[in-house]
Structure formats: structure tokens, C-alpha cells
Subunit: 427 residues, 2 copies
């Protein structure tokens, strides 16, 4: 179903079985808007070989709503579904007959309670979260959780294991050093964070209180495809950048946490899903706001929560359910990622993704150019074509395309067409 793009020297052949000649697909209009390239440098043409008249899906309807918007490949805060923002815009001034904006609602009033309860309920449905897990909407980002996790789950002398597959896992490990005895049982640093090890060979600490991973490393584009069962049974995952991008068996985890600003909302809210049996033994030095018991006992309303951000997450959860749930979302994400990785791998080395193929992220796609001297030009030209935030993280360099849930297929198609064109003009 994915639009298949094949590059033959200076021409790009677009094969999109979902679209016909009459309804011009976004990617064509996108690619066709590169005439200054063809004029200035080399001939460049796009032919649409669409053959199917399959009905327009809601996903495509969404794309067509984004005419005046750029394709935003930022790693987070990141693109949100255009129609979700439209809905928020429609009811920003006055929410559903309440006479006020969501931003103005008392967090203890019936209107906001209905919002947060529905958000939690929809998230429970999406991820099939059992009743013995609490769902919390907190503040402070995943970075605050780096401290909260050991403070809640360990005593100062407790050993814990960290598997470090990128910068975020490393940061989590370092923060834990303040509150317990964490051990890095494997690190991908020497290989520039491009791998995830086989679980069989890992030497876990016999008495480790938990086992921590970063399920998707946003900066390095390394993603776990399956999960180990640690010796003590308590697997903890930072899912900030792949949360709700695919189904997850929550029961395999003691705790899952995620900043919302990649796949499920704006920044300013952090979601924690924690097995209730793990709560209630925080260290005495734990700030009351970092103690999970505080928030579990008060349904995330101990103090004023980031209510507008929670509301936005709720709208996104509704949308993910309307798309058919996370299995359907995963299919779309796989299609987009496949398209982009194929373009890289089929570029004869013009583009390179350093990540081990078996653990490449569906969300964050880092790549470099063989000719590093034209990387700045690549970014600049892409921005002119309304594809922004493609620059790689400052610690890594190169390019990075973040293609979260809300990135339309058309955005990836346009990027791939541009990449092929750019390559044709620079080889």
C-alpha cells in the first residue's frame, strides 16, 4: 500500500496504488514544487503511476487538512494531528457549553474531571492497561522520572540494572546514582549507540530491584523490538518517544513512563503507568510531588495538574482509537518507516543510517550524507520546501527525521522524493 518511489538517475517514479491520476496526491504536488531545482541544476520529473481508486481513508482526509502547514520532522515537541488541533481550536474559547476555556477550568470541577477521566479511560483501552496498574498524568518530563523511579522503588543501597542504548538511558542511569546503586550492565556507547544486545548474554545483578531500558532512543534512533523479562520481574521503560506508536503488553512492565510531546500530546505532561503493588515505599527524602503514592491516592489531582495538556492528550487518544487502535497505528508507522529506510538503503551510500537494521526505530530516523559538505544545503532546501526540523541532534550531527504517529504518510513521501532529487543533483 505504501507509495513506492524508485529513482532512475534523474527521474523519480512514484507508484502509489492508493491514488489515481485525477486526485493529485500531496506527494506529487510536494515534489512538483521543486521546479527551481530542475530549472537550475538537472532535469527532474515525477510520474504518478497510481492505478487504484481505493476509497479515501480518515488518514488521508487528515492529510488534506494540512495545506497551510509544514511537514514538521521535529523530535519533540512534534507534529500533532491537524484535525486534532482544529478541534482544540474550535473549542478553545468555550468548551462544549461550559462557558469557559479548558485552560480556565477548576481542576476539581465536573467539566475537567470528565476530561481527565475520559483521557485515562481511553488510554487504558488503547494499551489494554489492567486495573492493578495506575495511570498518572504528571509534570516535569521524563527527566524528573529519572529521579522519581529510584526514589520510589529503591533504598539507597539497593542495586539496580540499566541497559544503556543511547543518551537518554545514560542520563537516567546518572540521575539514579544519587538515590541507589545503579549498574550499567551493557552500554552501546563504544559503538555510538547503534545496537541493542542479545538479552541472553546479559549479566543481570542478582538482587537488582529493577531493570531499566529506554524503549526508543530519540537521538540515536534505536528501538527495542521485544522485551526481556528481568530476573526480578520489574522491567522499567522510558517510552517517551514510542509511547502509543504500537501495541505494548503492559503486564511485562513494572513501570512505563513517557513525556507526551512525541506521539500523544503537547509538552508539559508526563504519563506514568505503574503497577500499584510497587508504590508506597518511597525514600524519606522524596519530594511529595515525586512520590507516586501522592498522585495515585489523588488521581493525579494532588495539586493543580497540567490540565490543558491532559485535555490535548485526551483528544489524541480519541483519535488513535478512532483510527482502529494501536495495531492500525503501528501498520501506518511501519509503512512510513519502511519507505524512508528503503530510500536510505537504496541510495548507493549517498544516505546512510548507522543503526543496526534489526533495531531501527519506527519513530526517529537518523541518517548522514556521504557528502557531509552538502548537509547544510540539504536542510536549507528541505526547509524551503516546507519540510522542517530535519537537522540531527547536536550530539550526533547529520540528519534526523522524526516520523511519529501524527506525521502523515504524505510527509514521508515528500521527504523521500526530495531526498532522491537532492541525490540526483549531488552525485
Amino acid at each position: 500500500m505504501a507509495a513506492k518511489l524508485t529513482s532512475t538517475s534523474n527521474s523519480v517514479l512514484l507508484q502509489n496504488p492508493n491514488r489515481n491520476h485525477l486526485s493529485v496526491p500531496n506527494v506529487t504536488s510536494g515534489a512538483a514544487s521543486f521546479p527551481h531545482f530542475t530549472a537550475k541544476i538537472k532535469p527532474f520529473s515525477i510520474r504518478c503511476a497510481a492505478t487504484s481508486t481505493a476509497p479515501t481513508t480518515s488518514f488521508q482526509a487528515q492529510i488534506q487538512d494540512s495545506d497551510d502547514r509544514v511537514f514538521n520532522f521535529a523530535a519533540g515537541p512534534a507534529t500533532l494531528p491537524a484535525h486534532v488541533i482544529k478541534k482544540a481550536q474550535d473549542e478553545l474559547y468555550e468548551w462544549r457549553g461550559s462557558g469557559m476555556s479548558v485552560m480556565e477550568m477548576s481542576h476539581r470541577g465536573k467539566e475537567f474531571l470528565s476530561i481527565i477521566q475520559k483521557a485515562e479511560s481511553d488510554l487504558r483501552t488503547l494499551l489494554n492497561i489492567p486495573e492493578d496498574y495506575a495511570v498518572l498524568f504528571l509534570q516535569g518530563g521524563a527527566t524528573t522520572q529519572f529521579a522519581a523511579i529510584p526514589l520510589n522503588l529503591c533504598k539507597p543501597d539497593d542495586p539496580v540494572d540499566y541497559l544503556v542504548t543511547g543518551s537518554w538511558g545514560d542520563k537516567a542511569f546518572k540521575e539514579a546514582q544519587k538515590y541507589c546503586k545503579p549498574k550499567v550492565i551493557w552500554s552501546g556507547k563504544s559503538e555510538k549507540y547503534t545496537k541493542i544486545p542479545s538479552f541472553d548474554g546479559l549479566e543481570q545483578s542478582p538482587d537488582a530491584k529493577y531493570f531499566h531500558i529506554c524503549a526508543n532512543e530519540t537521538i540515536h534512533g534505536v528501538e527495542f523490538k521485544d522485551y526481556l523479562t528481568p530476573r526480578n520481574g520489574i522491567l522499567i521503560a522510558d517510552m517517551s518517544s514510542n509511547f502509543c506508536s504500537k501495541p505494548v503488553d503492559v503486564t511485562k512492565f513494572g513501570l512505563i513512563y513517557a513525556g507526551a510531546q512525541k506521539n500523544v500530546g503537547p509538552c508539559g505532561v508526563t504519563i506514568v503507568i505503574v503497577r500499584k503493588g510497587l508504590i508506597g515505599n518511597a525514600q524519606a527524602i522524596t519530594p511529595v510531588m515525586l512520590d507516586y503514592k501522592t498522585h495515585v491516592d489523588n488521581n493525579s489531582l494532588y495539586n493543580t495538574p497540567p490540565s490543558f495538556c491532559i485535555y490535548m492528550c485526551g483528544l489524541v487518544f480519541e483519535d488513535l482509537l478512532a483510527q482502529g487502535g494501536l495495531k492500525e497505528v503501528e501498520k501506518k508507522n511501519k509503512k512510513k518507516a519502511e519507505l524512508l529506510y528503503n530510500a536510505i538503503d537504496e541510495s548507493n551510500g549517498f544516505y546512510r543510517c548507522p543503526v543496526d537494521r534489526s533495531v531501527r526505530s519506527l519513530m526517529n530516523v537518523p541518517f548522514t550524507l556521504e557528502r557531509s559538505d552538502v548537509e547544510a544545503e540539504f536542510i536549507k532546501e528541505a526547509a524551503k520546501e516546507k519540510m522542517v526540523q530535519l537537522k540531527g541532534h547536536r550530539s550526533v550531527g547529520g540528519m534526523r527525521a522524526s516520523i511519529y504517529n501524527a506525521m502523515p504518510l504524505a510527509g514521508v513521501e515528500k521527504l523521500v522524493a526530495f531526498m532522491k532529487d537532492f541525490q540526483a543533483r549531488h552525485t
Copy 2:
């Protein structure tokens, strides 16, 4: 300039020098919408004795924008200026030609940097904040600061002083017990938090590292009208509920902190203004996200900030400057508070405010009814008249009208008219 309402048995005389008979003022339409009272219980009439044709101010223009909205007296999250929400609504889908919503912007991109930098700059102008103070936009609410303050400014054995004038001051004190040796040098608890003591008689601890107050107690309606200079010179104030409601001499403080959700924005962002010289000595157990140095060194961008909330604060700061700054804002707040307190004090005991007159809050006005049996009726009828969230905090009971910056004068006028009518029908 305020609409003066005088009650003569069953009739309410509305004297509004700013408005004439032709342009029907909001308060009249509000009060006139109580016909079911007059029909069911007692005759009730309103006459408008407006005599002036003074030009409409921007403040009044704002009021007229709020036709489909309620008057929201919530203590926070609270009412925001209607035209500020309209502006946010206008640009929610696509911010000023950027091709994206503010919610989608990379926090390190030039668009968001321009937003946060302008917000900080405008706040510095509003409060005349000197360069040797840092301005931080953080997460976690004032409750997180209850821990961050002692963690940053004390060692575990350091004495500190807390002056407790209400529930929030008490919570701050209790959290500090985890990280230093705080002492309550005065508490208003035995008098139900209705007073602030004379500063002369306070016995400060000789070696206290700082002196903590809550500048305005949201629940009890007790507000400092001036500030003491502590022995060690480091005064710390929780200004959550009166931040930017009046001018403040920042140089009198070591640190000021405030949740935004009362006077300057939606919930989800906490503003800290701290003398730079106090930073850099956090206890080793301080979570990196609670260490002020982390945020000062990174201009509040160490990790992803609550960007949409910061943007909203920026719009409010612009509006406060456009109103003429905090001196003008204070005048309006005084006018509103005077109107409401006068209505209470002139009710022959039907309404009562328990707070010592010299320290009554301009922001939060708690009051009880002599006939506590009709309090629920009062709240219910007010809600029918589109005046909501008037119920007092669960720990105090009675009523509370929060009349922050964004509460229009018309809202207080309508409340006062309703109070007089309600009284007439229940005495």
C-alpha cells in the same frame, strides 16, 4: 468610577457613572436576568442611574467580548482575559506563518525561542526585575518548589524560618522538614488563618538561611500588604495567587515563585524569580530537575519546557503591559475588591468575611452567610446566573470569590447585585 450598587429593601439602585442608558451595561443585563427571583419571591427592580459618557476603555472592551462566557470565580485554574484566549484561538492552528501550532514547535527552534525570550523580557519589564535575578519557567507547581527551595538554599542542618498565615504556608513548612530545620515562628492557625502578625514582634532564628512567607493565601484570603526585611536578608515568597496583580519590589526578595494559573496563564508552568547569587549549592540529593542551576544554565530549556503554557503567559504579559503595567492593574484590582468587601460589610451581617480588614486579599474573598442553611442555594442560584465556582475551599466552607486580574469589573458588579438580591429575599 466603579458601578455603585445600593440596596434599598427590595430594590437595587445601580449607579454606574461610566455608562449611559443607551449602551446597556453588562451588570444591568446580568442583574436584570434575575426575573425568576422577582416573580417567585419578592419584587426586585434595577434602575440604571448612569450619568457619564466616558469613553470605553480597553478593559470594558474586553468585557463585551465575553457574552457567551460565564463569570468564573475559581481559585485557579482561573479565568483568563477573554481577548487573550481569542488571540490564542486565532493562532492555535498555525502560529504567525510558522506552518505549525505553538504546541508542535521544537523548544530549540527560533520560533519558540522568540516566544520564551519575549515572555521573559516582558515579565522583567512588568516587575522591573534586575539583571542579577534569573527568571525561570518550570514545571510541577508551587508544591514542587516547597522542596526545591530548601534543597537549593540549605544544608540538612540549616535553620530556616516560616511564617504560616494559611494552608499553603503550612504545606511549604512541612515539605521543608525533609531537607533542613524549618521553624514556624508564627502561625495563624489558632485564629483560623485570618491575620498577619506585626513584623516587629517576630522572633527570627539568628542563623536562619531564609525567611519564607506565602504572600497571598488563596484558601483563606489573607494577603501581605508590605514585607519585612529578615535578619539574613533572604525573604522568600510564594506569590502564586497574587503574582503580577500589583507592583512588587523584587529586590526585597531572595526568591519569588508562583504557579501561573491564577493571574498570568494556564496551569502547567511555575515561574521562579531568584537572585543568581543564591544558586549553585544544591544538596547532593537534589533531583536535577529541582536544581535551579540546571535551569539557569540552560535558560529554562534543559529539557522540554511546558511550551504552550509559557506562550500563554507571554500573551498575558503583553496584555498587562498594554493595560499600562502593574500599577494600573492594581487600581482595577482594588476597585473590584472594594466593591465586593463593601457589599459584605454593608450587609448588616448577612454576609461576613472573617479576615482581618488590614490584610484582606485583593484576589481571594472568602465569606460566609449568616444563614448557613441557604449557602447551597446561594451557590446554585449564582451558577444559574452564570457566576460559577463560588463555593469555598473544602477545608474552610462558605463562599469564596476569586477575582484575579482577568475577572472583569462587570463580573464583580453582577455578583454584588446578585448578593443584594439574594439577601433581600432571605431576610
